[in-house]
Amino acid sequence: MDNQPPLRIVLAKVGLDGHDRGVKVVTRALRDAGFHVIYPGLWQSPESVVRTVADEDADWLGISLLSGTHMTLVPRIMQMLQAAGLRHVGVLVGGIIPEADVPKLLAVGVARIFGPGTPLGEIIEFLRAQGSRTHA
C-alpha cells in the first residue's frame, strides 16, 4: 500500500430504497480505514451509478440494496458497466440478498456479497487484499 494512492470506492443506493443505515456506516468505516469513498446519496438510477463510477475513476463499486430489487437492478448495472468499458471495476453488493440469489449475482460478475451482520473489518480486509483492479 506504500506510496500508492488510496483505493477509490463508489458506494451507491439504487432505486427507491431509503434504508441507508448500513451504507452510511460502511462509508464511515472505509473512510476511517483510509479509502477514498464517494457516496452520491439516495435514489440513484443504474445510469447515474455507472456515470459516477466513470467520472470518479473508481476501483470498486459497492451497491447497497435492502428492497428486494437486486435481481432487477444489479444485472442491469453489470451490463451497463461492461458497455461503458468499466469491466475492471470490482462490484460488491451489500444488504439483504436471499441465499438462492447469491450464485445468480456471482454469475453476473459480482465479486462478493456482504450480508447483514458482516463485521466492518471483513469488508476492509477484503478490499485491502484485493486492491485495485484498475491500476494494478
Partner: protein, 549 residues
C-alpha cells in the same frame, strides 16, 4: 431515604462488589447508556410519587393513560401487512381478521410511498414488492372490499402522499355508505421523520409539513375519530438512533406539528387528543419501558403547561409499538421469535395501546403466513398466559426503572434545547442535525458489535456452522405487469377533461395556500393517480432533491 445503618451495609455491599472481576463487556444499554450494578433509593433523590408518577389515567400519566389499563381492555393486536396487488393484500387482511387480529394495518409498496405510479420507470422492480401497490381509488376499493371498515380500525403507513391516499380512503368509504364521523383508524402522515431517517421524501420540508397539517385540519373537522398523524420514532430508531434520540426527536416533531396547527388558528384541544405516536420496541427491556414512561410524562407536561391544553385527552400520549426490525438477524432466524417475544413484553410493560410483532423471517423477505401466525400468537400468549395484563404498570416503583425514566426525560430536554438553539425544527433539519446524530449512534453501535462489546446470538456469538434456510414468501413477478395493466385500463376509461380540470383545481388550491383536501377528494373521484396528483402539487411546492439526503 437511606439511614446511617443503611450506609454501613451499603459500604459492605460496595466492598463485596469491588471484588468481582470486571466484565469484558461494559454494562451499558443497547443505546450505550451506562447502567449501575444496583439501584437504591439513593438514585431517586427528591422522588415524589404524586408528581412524578401519579395514578394511571391521571396526569402526568407516567403509569399509563387509562385507569385500569389492560384489565379494562387489552392492547390492539395490529399486524402490518401488504404485498402485491390490492386483491392479494385484501386476502391477507381477511386471513388476519379470521385469526383474531383486532385491527388492520396497511403496508404500501415503495412506489406508492414515494408518490410514484406503478408505470413510472423509477418504479421498475419495486411494484407490489414491499407492500401493496395503490395507484388510484380503484385499488383502494379493492383493498378493503368486504371488510367492515365501519367497525375495524384501519391504519395506513404512508407519509409524503398521505393526503392523496387519505382522499382515496375517504372517497371510497363515502361511496360504500360509511359516514366519515364514524371511521376509526390512523394515517402515519409524519413527514418530519422522513427527513430525519426514513427517506420517503417528495416535497421540501416546509410544504411537506404544510400538507401534513392540511390533513390534520381536515380530519379535525370531518373525521373526528381518525388519528390524522402518527408521530413516529420507530424509523428514527431503525436508522440507528439511541432510545433517548428516538424519544426526543419524536416528541420534538410532535411539538412542531402542534405549533403549525396553532399557527393555522386551530385550538390545541380540538386536535391534540387525536395526535398519536409510534415507537420502536427494541431489545433492551428496561430502557424501552423507561422510554415509553418518559414519553408520556414529557408530553403531558408540555401539553398542559406550555400549550395550555385543558382537555385531559390532549395530555395523553397514546402509542402504537412495533418490535425492532433492525434487531432481527438473518442467521438462525427462529431465534428472532425469542427476540420479538421479549420486545413485545417491553412494549406491554410500557403501556402501549397497540402492537405489531415482527415475524421471524422479516430480514429475509415479507413474512410467510406461518411466520405471521407465530408473531400474532406471541402477543396472544403474552396477553392471556403470562399475567402481565393483570396489574397496571408492574415495573412502577422499581428504583432502576424510575431512575432510567428520569434519565430519559433529562436527555429529551437536552435535545429540545439543542434543537431550539439551532433555530427550531426546520433549521435543524436544514443543518443535517438529526441525520448526523443518528449516523453517529449507528456507527458507535456497529463498533461495539464488531468489538464484541455487544454480543448478538448467531451473529458474533453462538454461530451455527450449517443452517437450514427457512421457507420464505416469494412475490410473483407478474404482479408488476398485472398492476400496470390495470392502471392502463383505468386511464383508458376515465375522462381526461375531468382529470385536467380537477388537477388544475388542486394546483390552484395549493398556490392559494388553501387546504388541499377538498380538491383532492374531487380529483381522486376522477380516477387520477397518486403520481399525477403529487406532480400537480409539486408544480406549486417544488420537489426535494436527493442532495439533502
Amino acid at each position: 431515604m437511606a439511614t446511617a445503618m443503611d450506609r454501613k451495609l451499603w459500604a459492605q455491599w460496595q466492598q463485596e462488589i469491588e471484588k468481582t472481576p470486571p466484565s469484558p463487556r461494559p454494562a451499558t444499554t443497547v443505546s450505550g447508556m451506562p447502567i449501575e450494578p444496583l439501584y437504591t433509593p439513593d438514585n431517586l433523590e427528591g422522588f415524589e410519587y404524586e408528581t412524578e408518577l401519579g395514578y394511571p389515567g391521571q396526569f402526568p400519566y407516567t403509569r399509563g393513560i387509562h385507569a385500569s389499563m389492560y384489565r379494562g381492555r387489552l392492547w390492539t393486536m395490529r399486524q402490518f401487512a401488504g404485498f402485491g396487488t390490492a386483491r392479494q393484500t385484501n386476502e391477507r387482511f381477511r386471513f388476519l381478521v379470521e385469526k383474531g387480529q383486532t385491527g388492520l394495518s396497511t403496508a404500501f409498496d415503495l412506489p406508492t410511498l414515494m408518490g410514484l405510479d406503478s408505470d413510472d420507470p423509477r418504479s421498475l422492480g419495486e411494484v407490489g414488492r414491499l407492500g401493496v401497490a395503490v395507484d388510484t381509488i380503484d385499488d383502494m376499493r379493492q383493498l378493503f372490499s368486504e371488510i367492515d371498515i365501519g367497525k375495524l380500525s384501519v391504519s395506513m403507513t404512508i407519509n409524503a402522499p398521505a393526503v392523496v391516499v387519505m382522499a382515496f380512503y375517504l372517497a371510497n368509504a363515502q361511496d360504500r355508505g360509511f359516514e366519515w364521523r364514524h371511521l376509526r383508524g390512523t394515517i402515519q402522515n409524519d413527514t418530519l421523520k422522513e427527513f430525519h431517517a426514513q427517506n420517503e421524501i417528495y416535497f421540501p420540508p416546509e410544504p411537506s409539513v404544510r400538507l401534513a397539517i392540511d390533513l390534520i385540519e381536515f380530519c379535525t373537522h370531518h373525521v373526528p375519530q381518525w388519528n390524522p398523524v402518527s408521530v413516529s420514532g420507530y424509523h428514527i430508531r431503525e436508522a440507528g438512533s439511541t432510545a433517548a434520540q428516538e424519544l426526543a426527536f419524536t416528541l420534538a416533531d410532535g411539538f412542531h406539528y402542534i405549533d403549525q396547527c396553532l399557527a393555522r388558528g386551530l385550538k390545541v384541544d380540538d386536535f391534540a387528543p387525536r395526535l398519536s405516536f409510534f415507537f420502536n420496541a427494541h431489545n433492551d427491556l428496561f430502557e424501552e419501558v423507561a422510554k415509553y414512561r418518559a414519553a408520556r410524562a414529557v408530553w403531558a407536561d408540555r401539553l398542559r403547561n406550555h400549550y395550555g391544553a385543558r382537555n385531559e385527552a390532549s395530555w395523553k400520549l397514546r402509542f402504537h409499538a412495533q418490535t425492532a426490525g433492525c434487531s432481527l438477524q438473518d442467521k438462525q432466524p427462529e431465534v428472532n421469535l425469542i427476540r420479538v417475544a421479549y420486545q413485545s413484553l417491553a412494549a406491554v410493560l410500557g403501556g402501549c395501546q397497540s402492537l405489531h410483532t415482527n415475524s421471524m423471517d422479516e430480514t429475509l423477505a415479507l413474512p410467510s403466513e406461518h411466520a405471521v401466525t407465530l408473531a400474532l400468537r406471541t402477543q396472544q400468549v403474552l396477553a392471556h398466559e403470562t399475567g402481565v395484563a393483570n396489574t397496571v404498570d408492574p415495573l412502577g416503583g422499581s428504583y432502576f426503572v424510575e431512575s432510567l425514566t428520569r434519565q430519559m426525560q433529562q436527555e429529551a430536554h437536552r435535545y429540545f434545547d439543542a434543537i431550539e438553539q439551532l433555530g427550531g425544527m426546520l433549521a435543524a433539519i436544514d443543518r443535517g442535525f438529526f441525520r448526523r446524530e443518528i449516523a453517529e449512534a449507528a456507527f458507535a453501535y456497529q463498533r461495539e458489535v464488531d468489538a464484541k462489546h455487544k454480543l448478538i446470538v448467531g451473529v458474533n456469538a453462538y454461530q451455527e456452522p450449517d443452517e437450514k434456510p427457512l421457507e420464505i414468501l416469494t412475490i410473483d413477478h407478474a404482479v408488476e405487469s398485472e398492476q400496470i395493466e390495470s392502471l392502463k385500463r383505468v386511464k383508458n376509461q376515465r375522462s381526461n377533461d375531468e382529470v385536467r380540470r380537477t388537477l388544475d383545481a388542486v394546483r390552484r388550491a395549493a398556490a392559494a395556500h388553501e387546504n388541499v383536501m377538498p380538491t383532492l377528494l374531487e380529483t381522486v373521484r376522477a380516477r387520477t393517480t397518486v403520481g399525477e396528483v403529487m406532480h400537480a402539487l409539486a408544480d406549486v411546492y417544488g420537489r426535494c432533491d436527493s442532495a439533502v439526503v
